[in-house]
Subunit: 306 residues, 2 copies
């Protein structure tokens, strides 16, 4: 096999009480990439459509992630990469993660799978480091493993796949305003009260239990974040109205996707997810902000060949 | 039915990363109680053996919990309570919780089960309020539900039963020194860093996932507490050696039970749990502190009639 075309899913990270640890892969929104073996050593971005992003290997997240893999492999050739972006950069649904993971996943396939999925997470994290300054794993892990994934620990890296309830759907709205990840990190408090911490890990425990037992009510009750959401949501115009509307339309829970500005909601069943989408759109139509809406079931496969 | 004899299990709360939210019921150690209907309205502690504790209803945790139930019931009689303590007060394995829960569980049975198990948790919490000044639920919930339980939230109270892996055994050692719950609460920091919080909820997520998937390695990796254990363990002589020895003997993890001084370890299989017990004993024999050791499988039933 010399060439592979792959679908690279969008992902939601920082799922409410799962701040910095819990992410999930989406099904109906993602990029496409073509990865091709080439005799010349190196990573070469030969095409980039859909977004205005750097094509130099060292400045492109797929390039950097690809180099990380290449440096640890005994393959003495290289790869050409074509990237067809559907996910908007800076939207908060894992645009950089889709590119980084797509590159390393396809390369690993083309080389006969010398690396484990966890090792691919490490390579892809180098793309995240380039994109945001922090080598976080909460978008790249679900893109590579599929479904919900927990980053239990970074030292050592420990990714735990979590069950994805079959009737769970995500609705994501992307209001087209710009928030830089670095800015939205800066406004976070460095300290929290022990009491807030206990509340958060109680909810995360409930959410993980709800995902395993497919208890949709429990999932909904646990989707709370009293620590980060109250601060970051200030940067997202209309957030409170979107959340209120989503819950009133039957969503189990609603929060900030990644570091925003996208907002996600989870629902039981596609019909509710569609109602939630309408209520979300309404808010941004009223305040006049351009927006995209995605409705997706949970993608339990992650990246796949197409 | 006029009278019931019940077994009231000891419990481990504050399970490492599950500080204030996660508890578990034990099988081989617990109190016995006899609860008897009486025409006279009120709660009467008629016998108390094994420990020197107050017998006045208002000063006894079983009395107070029983009154909380009686006040919400339409029963116009009362109950006599006999308490046969095996769990030492102040040992950190839920002595007060055993008495509070035993009383309300048996009364509910004798009255034809007018109250849900969650409601019984609320009544029993009044006993905890008397014992420690805080109406916590992390011992009474596992005593009443059995197995592992998560206190997701206090407002409203939301108890989530968590799967108990079948080969999981607990070893508990009680070094006979006195630590007051109120003292061990006082030394806690009121604030933690966001980074410490993230580490803790990553671990709790991993622990809950490990309990549901019966992944003993994951349970072991997740049994960490970087927040409370480093502070509270200072109050427990020999703690570091006990923990080191337990892990070296094959324990999955080891931590402080409740607010101490008891120390628990979880192991896969009874043989390992016994080896862990020997290594724990050795430490206290060397430093000359009297101690009790318990080895127990997880009690998935909770309180039961005997």
């Amino acid at each position: 096999m010399e060439e592979l075309r792959v679908f690279c899913p969008a992902t939601i990270a920082n799922i409410s009480c799962g701040f910095d640890v819990l992410g999930v892969a989406l099904d109906s929104v993602g990029d496409e990439m073509v990865i091709r073996k080439t005799p010349k050593k190196g990573i070469f971005i030969t095409k980039l459509e859909g977004q205005d992003l750097p094509m130099e290997t060292e400045r492109n997240v797929a390039g950097v992630a690809g180099l990380a893999l290449l440096n640890e492999s005994d393959y003495d050739g290289g790869f050409e990469i074509e990237i067809y972006k559907n996910i908007k950069a800076g939207s908060g649904i894992g645009s950089s993660a889709a590119s980084s993971t797509g590159a390393v996943w396809a390369m690993n396939q083309l080389l006969g799978k010398p690396f484990t999925t966890s090792k691919l997470v490490e390579f892809a994290m180098e793309g995240e480091r380039l994109a945001s300054g922090v080598a976080h794993a909460d978008n790249v892990a679900p893109a590579l493993f599929g479904g919900f994934t927990l980053v239990r620990s970074y030292e050592p890296l420990d990714i735990i796949p979590i069950n994805s309830p079959s009737e769970l759907f995500a609705t994501v709205i992307h209001p087209q305003i710009e928030i830089k990840t670095s800015d939205s990190r800066k406004i976070l408090k460095t300290h929290i009260t022990l009491k807030e911490g206990i509340k958060q890990w109680g909810n995360l425990g409930g959410l993980i239990a709800g995902l395993f037992t497919e208890d949709y009510d429990l999932i909904g009750r646990s989707l709370e974040d009293h620590i980060v959401e109250p601060i970051r949501s200030i940067l997202i115009p209309g957030f409170n109205d979107v959340k209120k509307g989503a819950l009133a339309s039957g969503a189990l829970g609603c929060g900030i996707s990644g570091s925003g500005p996208s907002i996600f909601a989870f629902s039981k069943g596609e019909a509710t997810a569609k109602k939630v989408a309408l209520s979300m759109k309404e808010v941004y139509e009223k305040i006049g902000i351009d927006h995209d809406v995605h409705i997706s079931k949970i993608n339990t496969e992650g990246i796949k060949e197409i």
